[in-house]
């Protein structure tokens, strides 16, 4: 029934930061504050959307469970140290609560690979609610073949099938809102199961709820051994949980974000597909997880890096699929309206073919961090690292696309510094691992040559700062990693000069920074402040003895998080709106590293 529910009133698009993340470490859903799952790809992060309203508009499908009429969200939170999301609305004199999550641990049991559990409940008076189930599969928003079975509603598209069960049983029809009444003590539970190239497995709603509860216990246990001395621990744990939810468990690959084409410029063309894996993110994740005592996760990232890069070794691809394959060629999806009219919507990513020298530095540094933490590098790992160092030795003088993946290669100073880092860390590892003298001398020579060239061509003595490109005067916020490298001492005027110059010149107000001078990347439109850079600034300040400033800045950055503690890639400095794909692995990894730098900084 639809009585009392206005089906003609379109739901306005929610702000990016209004979305919460549900995940099972294989795929993820984004849920708006009105209870609508507006994004879910199946069977994996990089699969096709089952619910795509976020970017594909109303025709792309949604699964909304919430109040029947507009209502105010009075509380929205993750249950502490879990991935279960709770949204409570004030409806008249009563309250309606939606508790939801995805079941992550399905191994060894007869359970569907993707299982979403959603429960509506009220503790006070009866509340009218609505279930709007409208699955549309793929880029063409295909409608399903529908079968109403005794235990559930089944929707099919060839090898993909979805079942929606409920308790009490509801008469749900895809595409038609169903009005229900939720009474105190009688919650309504909905269970969505997805089967891809396998039979559907029906799970009773009561059992599904129990599974979700068991999952919560597992997440709590996972967080128990995270370093208790961490500053801002609650926020760091949320970021670590987010990183883990965005890590594809079958291959241990950290996906950059679960979405495509959330715009860096609302209404503009800067819309990219981030449902792939950047070795840089995995490398930062290795250090982050190692430093909080999560060696298994760190080992998983490193294993993925080595396994995934195997096909193209010794060259390190800029990005890879979840299974380490070539990323599909970038293409535009016709007919998709985009988020807030931001078109084109893109699938695939053309940055995959770029030469990015900095990647070698991140990966080698991750291997060094792993070895330094007392873990032995296998001979294959060491062979791979040697191969990466050899590539840097051969190619460091070539222009590259840099960390920001500009489409015109240039002599990026940050890339050169990361090339230096690759060789320096490889040489350090070689102190305890076998290396031919000739190879060692070649690396040392290249490392020293990079340092000499960067100091002459990449440094502006007038401003006392390293610059973005050789011969330019522009700055690059990626240079904030300088204090981590030790190419210059952390007390060096070069390091302090660079940090201060970036802070002054690239400031977007408060703690926010642009990654480079806005509007100088060849794309039309503008972009927001780049959030990982702000956390790198915190880290740089903490590493250079300015702990108090670092703490203040970190605190301010926490105020910019979404209400659920999530971050996109960018933030509009004028409105505070999150921009870009969401939530973003790099931002959360940078947050963790910033907190670790504060932890390790001397307090005096």
């Amino acid at each position: 029934m639809t009585g009392g529910y206005d089906t003609t009133c379109p739901r306005p698009p929610a702000a990016i930061s209004d979305y919460g993340l549900l995940g099972d470490t294989r795929t993820a859903a984004l849920v708006a504050g009105d209870g609508g799952i507006d994004w879910l790809c199946v069977p994996r992060f990089d699969g096709e959307p089952l619910f795509g309203r976020l970017i594909g508009g109303p025709d792309a499908g949604t699964f909304r469970v919430g109040p029947a009429r507009p209502a105010t969200v009075v509380e929205r939170r993750y249950r502490q140290y879990t991935a279960t999301l709770e949204t409570t609305w004030a409806v008249g004199s009563s309250r309606l609560t939606l508790t939801e999550g995805m079941v992550a641990e399905v191994t060894g049991r007869l359970l569907p690979t993707t299982l979403i559990v959603r429960r509506l409940s009220t503790d006070e008076a009866a509340v009218d609610a609505v279930v709007e189930f409208d699955p549309r599969f793929g880029v063409r928003h295909r409608r399903p073949r529908i079968h109403q079975r005794r235990e559930a509603l089944v929707c099919q598209w060839g090898s993909l099938a979805v079942s929606l069960g409920s308790a009490p049983t509801l008469d749900i029809e895809p595409g038609r809102p169903t009005l229900i009444t939720v009474r105190p003590g009688r919650p309504v539970t909905l269970v969505l199961a997805v089967a891809h190239r396998e039979p559907l497995i029906h799970v009773e709603p009561a059992s599904a709820w129990q599974l979700l509860t068991e999952d919560e216990d597992r997440w709590r246990a996972w967080t128990v051994d995270i370093d208790r001395s961490l500053p801002f621990r609650e926020h760091v744990v949320r970021s670590l949980l987010t990183l883990r939810l965005l890590t594809y468990s079958p291959s241990r690959a950290p996906v950059a974000a679960p979405t495509t084409s959330l715009p860096e410029d609302a209404g503009g063309v800067r819309n990219w597909d981030y449902r792939y894996v950047w070795p840089r993110d995995a490398s930062i994740g290795v250090s982050a997880f190692l430093s909080v005592g999560k060696a298994d996760e760190a080992r998983g990232f490193l294993a993925w890096l080595l396994h995934a890069s195997r096909l193209q070794r010794p060259r390190l691809p800029a990005l890879l699929t979840l299974y380490g394959r070539h990323v599909p060629a970038e293409r535009e999806v016709p007919g998709w309206p985009g988020y807030l009219g931001s078109v084109p919507v893109r699938i695939g990513n053309s940055a995959a073919g770029q030469h990015q020298l900095d990647g070698y530095g991140w990966v080698t540094d991750a291997a060094w961090a792993f070895a330094q933490a007392g873990h032995r590098l296998s001979s294959e790992t060491w062979r791979a690292v040697r191969g990466f160092a050899d590539v840097v030795t051969r190619c460091w003088q070539e222009p590259d696309a840099g960390i920001w993946e500009v489409r015109e290669p240039a002599q990026h100073v940050h890339s050169k510094l990361m090339g230096w880092l690759a060789l320096d860390r490889a040489l350090r590892i070689a102190d305890t691992h076998p290396l031919a003298d000739r190879q060692r001398r070649r690396w040392q020579k290249a490392r020293d040559a990079i340092a000499a060239e960067v100091r002459t061509s990449g440094f502006n003595p007038t401003t006392g700062s390293y610059v973005r490109r050789y011969g330019s005067e522009g700055l690059d916020a990626a240079l904030l990693v300088l204090p981590l490298l030790n190419i210059d001492s952390v007390d060096s005027p070069r390091v302090h000069g660079t940090i201060d110059a970036i802070r002054d010149t690239l400031s977007a107000g408060g703690p926010l920074l642009y990654r480079y001078p806005p509007g100088r990347d060849g794309f039309p439109g503008t972009e927001g402040a780049f959030l990982p850079c702000s956390f790198w600034l915190v880290q740089a300040l903490a590493r250079t003895g300015r702990r108090t400033e670092a703490v203040e800045l970190f605190q301010t950055m926490l105020d910019h998080a979404s209400p659920l503690g999530l971050y996109a890639e960018e933030l509009d400095p004028a409105t505070g709106a999150h921009l870009g794909n969401y939530p973003q692995t790099l931002t959360h990894a940078a947050l963790v590293q910033a907190a670790l730098a504060i932890r390790d900084a001397p307090t005096s």
């Binding site: 294989r26 468990s249 079958p250």
Partner: protein, 158 residues
Amino acid sequence: MDWAGWALFGLVATAVLTAVLITAQLAGLTRLDFPLVLGTLVTEDPDRARVVGFFMHLCAGQGFALGYAATFALLHRATWWIGALLGTIHVGVALTLLLPLLPGVHPRMASQRAGPASRAVLEPPGLFAVNYGIQTPAVVAVVHVLYGVVLGLLLQAK
């Protein structure tokens, strides 16, 4: 049956298969590494796993060679093309049955259903083992057909 031929040429054919597979790996065509996959059944150290796995792979190769030798004996013919045909059947079974089923029994191989508690270090190969590189089915087909051709040429149908 050609028992002496089986004892020697089974090893030769498996060595050829392994050598070509390693060459394909070095050429960046596939990430499939049979010694590593088999060796990690008993140890998680990749270096030791490769050594142990190499010998396990030789044993497995001997086992399959027994089937080839028996088939040649039954057909009273041993030619390179019958070997290639058997190799084609062999690779069909390996890609559609053996490799996709492996995550169910391999203690260190994740499945497509792996969750956060998984400590498995090896990726699941997936159907036709394409998770190990899109060219993996072609590489695996070539090495197994080669294995069959070697046995067809060297074994006798007695």
